[in-house]
């Protein structure tokens, strides 16, 4: 039998601290669906995805009920469409997006990720068709997520792709101007994209993965925050001790994710992949990464000390996760998505968090510039510059970074924007010099891989 405190603390984690399994993502390999005939290809992918995912939602709900831990999002990631649909034109790629959107509805999942291309070293025909298709595909569907990897530590940064993605983002925003550029909230530009990440919008199934795999993403900012507050209310602790508390708590949270993920995988008779322990917030009070900063004694996320605090937090989360499971993957760290985190959005709105500080913090967080709304009149060059800067951080530091940025048509810094649901709402951030048309990004070509990529 468990001690009273063990029972109560577990119940508290679920009841008051918002512990949940953020995402169970079923990865499905579509390489055996390839056909040069679009009709056949669509038929093949429908059959394969529905074949694996027909009972995904029901199974996740049952397992969640059994353990009293809600599985919030059930999602699917697929092989990059730019690869499995390489022979199709951009118009046909849009048709594929519609087919995937219908399949997502049929199996009742909220997002399907993998409308993706990997172009860090060059853009092939299929990649170009997909990139061209992204604006229309995202604007005319609800459940498709797209990602394009434009840089790696090994390959360097494909600046042609960076500029292409800047233009793509602007087009996607324009096509969804009446929804504040919502299409851009479903599009990520990556450096060093992981192949096994369960979180949208970047999730896809890498080419080195199994035919079908269950990856799990756990989120626990509320649990971490409460653990810090509880311990600090009882005694003075040094930051080393606080890091230890975060690590231990992250370990517990990871174990919950793996338990549930493995059971879902067993029931579906699908291989279990990884648990991605990420502190991924929701726009809910008490489920915020930003609130952790306040628990650590900072006025707001973004003030001096924030980068150090985030570095400590991210590292402790990784250490806790690594001890909890031998199958940790994906991003595993702290997300700092602006609109999706009520506290971070508030810090940005009050001026504590600027886009420059946010970029600095992405050097030590697990993702990058995430869900950042910027003025709609930002030039393609400045947007490409922001993306290139973020990619450079990922490339040089051998880590994943991403940019999910939304130039909101017709709106300016300080205006508010509401994307709804988990995507949240925020004020549009001020971007210095947003009307510059510097030609640096227009040179194109490749920023070579750094010297430390020559490991072999």
């Amino acid at each position: 039998m468990f001690e009273d405190q063990e029972i109560i603390s577990t119940i508290e984690m679920v009841k008051n601290e918002n512990l949940d399994v953020r995402a169970v993502t079923l990865g499905i390999n579509l390489f055996d669906c390839i056909s040069h005939d679009l009709t056949v290809f669509k038929k093949n992918i429908r059959k394969k995805i529905i074949g694996h995912a027909a009972t995904l939602v029901e199974t996740c709900d049952q397992v969640g009920e059994k353990y009293g831990i809600k599985v919030v999002n059930k999602r699917i990631s697929i092989s990059p469409i730019a690869l499995v649909g390489a022979c199709f034109s951009s118009e046909q790629m849009v048709e594929i997006a519609h087919e995937l959107n219908d399949i997502a509805k049929a199996v009742n999942i909220d997002f399907i990720g993998g409308f993706s291309a990997l172009v860090e070293k060059g853009i092939a025909n299929g990649d170009q068709a997909l990139i061209d298709a992204i604006p229309k595909a995202l604007a005319t569907t609800q459940r498709i997520c797209a990602s394009v990897n434009v840089a790696t530590t090994k390959a360097g940064i494909n600046m042609d792709a960076v500029l292409a993605m800047s233009r793509t983002i602007k087009k996607a925003a324009a096509l969804t101007a009446d929804e504040d550029g919502l299409a851009c909230a479903k599009l990520c530009v990556f450096s060093n994209i992981p192949e096994d990440m369960p979180f949208m919008a970047g999730a896809y199934l890498g080419v080195g993965q199994a035919d079908a795999v269950i990856n799990v993403g756990v989120s626990g900012p509320g649990v971490i925050k409460r653990a810090i507050e509880r311990n600090l209310s009882q005694q003075h602790l040094s930051l080393g001790r606080i890091a230890e508390i975060i690590k231990r708590t992250a370990c517990k949270v990871t174990r919950v994710g793996e338990l549930i993920g493995r059971e879902v995988a067993d029931i579906l008779n699908i291989r279990f992949g990884v648990v991605d322990l990420s502190l991924a917030p929701t726009p809910t009070v008490g489920d915020s990464v930003g609130e952790i900063f306040q628990a650590l004694g900072l006025t707001h996320i973004g003030v001096p000390g924030s980068t150090a605090a985030l570095a400590m937090l991210n590292d402790a989360v990784k250490k806790g996760g690594a001890f909890a499971s031998s199958h940790v993957g994906g991003l595993s760290g702290a997300f700092i998505p602006v609109s999706e985190d009520l506290n971070i959005a508030e810090a940005a709105q009050k001026g504590f968090l600027s886009i420059e500080k946010l970029e600095a913090m992405t050097c030590v967080c697990s993702v990058g510039l995430d869900m950042v709304a910027v003025p709609g009149n930002i030039t393609e060059q400045v947007l490409a510059g922001i993306i290139a800067d973020e990619m450079a951080i990922g490339m040089i530091n051998a880590k994943t970074t991403a940019t999910r940025i939304i130039p909101v048509p017709g709106k300016k810094a300080g205006d508010s924007v509401n994307f709804g649901g988990l995507l949240g709402k925020a004020s549009i951030m001020d971007v210095p010099h947003l009307d510059l048309e510097d030609i640096f990004v227009e040179y194109g070509g490749h920023i070579p891989a750094p010297i430390h990529s020559l490991k072999n």
Binding site: D4, I7, K15, L259
Partner: protein, 183 residues
């Protein structure tokens, strides 16, 4: 085989287990299992022993009572002869935890629901400090759920009963407590 279970109740103090086990040794009994708990300063101990062949439970009780006469122990002895081993059933263990305002009969009403579905409570912890602070009135039942038990119906009935009693109820598989508490 001459297996017996001996229960001992007393006001808690140092030396009860030492004294009882020493007595049992003197009586030729071999200890197989011991479990004890203290509730609000009251000691309860359970000893399963192999007694010498031909010695009855009543004999053990009388001799043990005689030896512990001065110590204020309440002793009960029962033979386990004929008690067959429980069949191994496929089961999943759930923890049913309730919290809420204290009132009379909470355990009786919840456990009645559990037993009405043929489910067995293998461990129960209940702490009632009174008042309406839910954290001060917590019950936790550990219940194995076999294939024969209609688990959804049991859980629904428990939730309904808890609602009537103004209790917050959580029904969770034991494994979730294992992974969050046991490394």
């Amino acid at each position: 085989m001459n297996k017996m279970i001996i229960s001992v109740l007393a006001k808690d103090r140092p030396g009860i287990i030492a004294s009882v086990t020493s007595d049992l040794c003197d009586l030729g009994c071999n200890l197989e299992n011991v479990n004890q708990m203290i509730l609000q300063n009251q000691f309860a101990g359970f000893f399963i022993v192999q007694a010498p062949e031909g010695v009855s439970a009543e004999t053990i009780r009388q001799e043990l009572t005689l030896k512990e006469e001065a110590n204020g122990l309440t002793i009960h002895v029962r033979s386990l002869e004929g008690d067959t081993q429980m069949p191994v059933e496929e089961k999943e263990i759930f923890l049913i935890t309730t919290s809420g305002p204290d009132q009379k009969g909470l355990v009786a009403q919840l456990s009645d629901v559990i037993s009405s579905f043929g489910a067995n409570i293998v461990n129960l912890k209940a702490v009632f400090m009174g008042g309406s602070n839910p954290n001060e009135n917590v019950m936790s039942y550990q219940v194995p759920v076999t294939k024969e038990i209609d688990a959804p119906a049991l859980f629904a009935a428990l939730k309904e009963k808890a609602k009537k009693l103004d209790l917050d109820i959580r029904i969770q598989h034991k494994n979730i407590f294992d992974v969050t508490n046991k490394i």
